[in-house]
Symmetry: C2
Subunit: 445 residues, 2 copies
């Protein structure tokens, strides 16, 4: 905790840059100085590239070229996303020494927005898992308690932000991989609607579930970054006026109608903490168990398609936990996938009905605070299943989902660990998520 960027917002950084109180080169230096190697957030630092990009950003600003709120801002990129000339290691022995030839689409978007890429952040091996401690590079550590998991798979991206090394990082989210480490580390993470940020140049885990997302200290900074990358949000039909946000109706708030989605299995302290944010929201239930089956059938089938030859030819280059999960994935029957794709359509209709009645669905991001590194079971059951239990439905349905820090809960052995509140809405209405976070006082530090 306590890197240079702790407590700073993108807006504040932008103001300082434009007022000449900071330079992009200075920010790169601060970012590099803030890197705490013990946390293992970065696998590659690109001092030279970052300095060149920062120099260019400074020159542009000086000459009146202003690329907007990410101009000159140091950004970290998850190590399954290609940055031309840098290694893309995938957290795996399979990609030792592999150097990317071209930028991923989202990296091109970052550069066009003037962002300065300082390095690549540690990922769960091939992004296949949410714990953050399975990688050829070793565990990424939680800045709040270094013996605890960072969460994953965008582990290093979350930790780099949480520890103030950078104000913004890019990650990917197939079942929760942006939101899980955001919640565990006490920052904000946003998974946009499917395809909103293109996935070209990102190593696939499960193509139809993969999303590129953003991680920042606050929801407000996630919004700034998201809009900087994708253009201004489309006008959301005045959901905050009249019928949608109006008074009297169940769950109506100043920021829209909110439903509380009951988590199927949740640490009571976590549930109490997040539920307290939405005291008047009526409870609704969704079929988490059924959605989980749909998620697994799609993720496993698509993931094994990507890895089949590697598993056959060089299984020993995987971390044992990754190999075991891939082997399980390879046994997912095709008929389960056929059924899952049909079920997905049915669930999409069902949730669309819920989102006709409510503007926002609220629930914890994670049913538990960050466990200790290496854990595979916790009181509530198998960690693998728990990690994505509340996040993966929104990948199946491709809906925008935001995790915001919602305080802390006491944990075994003393101390407190962060809790995340997750907000979900209709595709195209993602501005509502950020407005709600603002109203809840969760949008800023």
């Amino acid at each position: 905790m306590g890197g240079f960027f702790t407590g700073r917002t993108l807006t504040g950084i932008g103001r300082d840059l434009r007022a000449g109180r900071e330079s992009a080169r200075g920010l790169v230096t601060r970012a590099l100085e803030s890197v705490d190697k013990d946390l293992n957030a970065f696998v590659t630092l690109d001092e030279e590239g970052a300095e060149a990009a920062a120099r260019w950003a400074d020159e542009e600003l000086a000459s009146g070229v202003d690329r907007g709120p990410l101009h000159g801002v140091p950004v970290a990129v998850k190590d399954i996303i290609d940055v031309a000339g840098l290694p893309t290691g995938m957290g795996s022995g399979h990609y030792a020494g592999h150097v990317a030839e071209a930028d991923a689409a989202c990296v091109t978007m970052l550069r066009n927005a003037g962002a300065v890429i300082v390095g690549k952040t540690g990922t769960q091996e091939f992004a296949f898992g949410g714990s953050g401690d399975v990688s050829v590079n070793g565990a990424v550590r939680n800045p709040r308690d270094r013996e605890r998991m960072s969460g994953g798979s965008s582990s290093g991206s979350a930790v780099a932000v949480a520890a103030g090394m950078v104000p913004l990082a890019i990650g990917t989210d197939t079942g929760g991989s942006v939101r899980i480490p955001s919640a565990f580390c006490g920052i904000a993470g946003f998974k946009p609607p499917h395809g909103a940020i293109p996935a070209g140049g990102v190593f696939p885990l499960s193509r139809s579930l993969d999303h590129v997302g953003v991680l920042a200290a606050t929801a407000a900074d996630c919004r700034v970054a998201y809009h900087a990358l994708t253009g201004p949000a489309e006008a959301v039909p005045s959901l905050l006026d009249g019928e949608s946000g109006g008074g009297g109706r169940a769950g109506s708030t100043a920021y829209g109608r909110v439903a509380w989605i009951e988590p199927p299995a949740c640490d009571p302290e976590v549930e109490r903490r997040v539920r307290a944010l939405f005291p008047d929201a009526p409870s609704e239930r969704i079929d988490f168990a059924g959605l989980r089956q749909v998620f697994l059938a799609i993720e496993y089938s698509e993931a094994y398609d990507v890895h089949a030859e590697r598993v056959a030819e060089a299984p020993g280059r995987y971390q044992p936990a990754t190999l075991a999960r891939l082997e399980e994935a390879g046994r997912m029957p095709g008929w389960r996938l056929v059924r899952a794709l049909r079920e997905r359509d049915r669930y999409a209709e069902e949730i669309a009905g819920l989102l006709d009645r409510y503007d926002l669905l609220a629930m914890p991001t994670m049913p538990i605070p960050a466990p200790r590194i290496g854990a595979t079971e916790v009181g509530l059951g198998s960690l693998t299943a728990l990690l994505v239990s509340l996040t993966s439905p929104w990948n199946v349905l491709g809906l925008p989902a935001l995790s915001v820090p919602a305080g802390t809960v006491p944990v075994d052995g003393g101390g407190e660990m962060p809790v995340g509140a997750q907000l979900v809405t209709r595709r195209g209405a993602e501005s509502l998520l950020f407005e709600a976070a603002d109203h809840l006082g969760l949008g800023a530090r």
Copy 2:
């Protein structure tokens, strides 16, 4: 052989009906008299319903209402297709006593066209297999040699036509199930492009591969029936003039440019017989082995989705051969399906390229003549694989495919059995198939 309709065309029947030389009621009587129970083509005869429909057809014609070429024509319907008030038995112990409540979409189309449904024809159990001898109703027998397979799964539909019991029958084709028994029995069978005849009310085998098709003695009669059901064919851009059908180019004929597709494994007599029809067609190869993998991944995954609960709860109600194949289908991995769906797109592009250069692809329908009932292996290998080897690629790609009788070949133990020539073209260009059959002298008896 030698039922009433042997040697009669739909056009001839229609002329006789309109000239008053025949009545629809008379045709129903002839059809019922022509049923040879030993062939096992029909599982249900609907004397009463057929007579009522025929009476109505006669009354309409007498009063000047003419529904076109199928008006008053006796038709047989495969027993996986619902006809309201009649049993739909699926050839399975699972559907004993099951009576359909409503007509399938294609049956509605038949009735709207004035056709008279005389009964339901025997099918391979749940249409899952091409031999025609696996059904709770026993083997359907080949009229040319009753010890030989009819082929399947539209076994009874092919035999009812081949033996002159009806001039037209409806079947379904997921991997060849219209064309296989048509070729084995010496009649014509047409699988339209995917979706051209709607599959509502047809028990699914593999939804994305299932096609409804027509079986008749000749290609000309298939064309009459197909157009009567789906409306007049769309204008085909003059493929028979100018560039497409013009002289000089490789494979050009009076009916378009033809490529000979080399069968991967084929009885030499069958290949010689069919190849002789296209002496100037250049040889082309397609990846039959790869297309077979795509076919199996899709068919198996989708079929087991349909049957999973039945296999779990009442496996003993299946024929043993069906159960064994379903169990194999249930083990098809999901990643193979993911890969197959991607490969299908690639093959579709590849074959579209071939169909830019040629108007028609010609090959045998079946690589072998009809084997003896009960056979599971023949000289060329496993029968299950051979039966769909040349037909199933056109289900994967959804392209129109016509099988026409192309003479006979000598078979072991003496005698001759029919051979089918298969023609494939672009979607929307199906008229070309019928024109080619005409030019080849294969369109009529």
